[in-house]
Amino acid sequence: MATEAMAGVPSKFRKTGTTIVGVLFEGGVALCSDTRATAGNIVVDKNCLKQHYIADNVWCLGAGTAADTEAVTMQISHELRLLQFETGRVVPVTAAITAMKRHLWKYQGHVSAALICGGVDSTGAHLSSVWPHGSTDSLPFLTMGSGCLAALSVLERGWRRGLTKEEGVSLGIEAVKAGIFNDMGSGSNVDVVIIDGEGTERRRNTVKPGTESRGADVL
């Protein structure tokens, strides 16, 4: 960063700040994220991509240090491709999650990646979060990142069993928007990945809250 170099202060490493959200609905999972990347108090990427491909049927969202989330998800994706060749089968979602937790635990939390991983396999739809130290939670709705509490309050009020696909997706979008508007580390647009029995659908920049008019609301 030019200004920080002049001040003689080293720039903080690039983090994804972030609000990431996963919502299980009937028959699938919706993974939603914001698109702001920060280095300290500066926005370095206004429209970054926090969705990571793991397999055709498994996608992952990453919060924490951007380099770590990219590296971990890429490594696990390659490991699982090899597993796919060895077994000749579609990769189960739990294989991805186990690979992530084993990797992160080995590094005792020094790999600062907080992930939400979801997908659909022969046993159904799965959603789990993986914490930097290697623990996992498997729940119907999850949030991670600096905007997680803002998003969580939306999900606590709106989630119920038996959501349809569109209900799940719009709930996830509303949760990310709560993070975008109420958390400084999150902002810009909402990206969504929807995985269900029919396949995977990606909606990049599906909502751009900055361009909506919200009247008296403060951004």
């Binding site: 509490l149 803002a150 969580l152 309050s153 939306v154 009020r157 709560a178």
Partner: protein
């Protein structure tokens, strides 16, 4: 407060002001004592002018800031509600640094992270009393679900044209533990 059940975090004064707090209970008791005496003195003077919510809020802001400057902060976040000098509804907050502002809705503690996003989305200027109570209850429910130290017993104090009252303590229903 789960450790000592039945501790009230809101109180009301004769002059129509409600005060809520989050933080050190001892400091709140000290503030409560001081305000009670101040309001009683004000009534005794009996000059036809009584302190309203805005005056109390201004006093608390000045007092908290002074304490902070003397390195003896009162470790509480306060919410002051009532009527201002013109009789309009008033809501303000003061924290241990002396930071103070008025707003249509405020929150302390975990409420800053969990309740404010909900309030920012759902509050409207012409809400009915029932809608406001439901909204506050909803926020408290989310806070109870996600704050380990919260309990589901709540108390509400309200200030309206008819005066001020502290409600009975009751338990939140429909908690979602899934």
């Amino acid at each position: 407060m789960v450790r000592y059940k039945g501790i009230r975090r809101v109180t009301a004064y004769d002059n129509g002001v409600c005060l809520g707090f989050s933080g050190d209970h001892a400091d709140f008791q000290s503030i409560d004592d001081e305000l009670t005496n101040m309001i009683r003195q004000d009534q005794c003077v009996d000059d036809g002018v009584t302190m309203g919510a805005k005056s109390i809020y201004g006093f608390l802001a000045a007092w908290m800031y002074q304490q902070r400057n003397e390195m003896k902060p009162l470790s509480v976040s306060l919410v002051v509600a009532g009527k201002d000098d013109k009789g309009e509804p008033f809501l303000g907050t003061v924290d241990q640094l002396g930071t103070h502002y008025e707003a249509p809705f405020v929150a302390t503690g975990f409420g800053n992270d969990l309740a404010l996003p909900v309030l920012r989305k759902e509050w409207t200027p012409n809400m009915s009393e029932l809608d406001a109570i439901r909204l506050v209850e909803d926020c408290l429910r989310v806070c109870y679900q996600r704050d380990c130290k919260a309990s589901n017993s709540i108390v509400m104090a309200k200030s309206t044209v008819d005066g001020v009252q502290v409600g009975v303590e009751y338990k939140l229903q429909n908690i979602n533990w899934q």
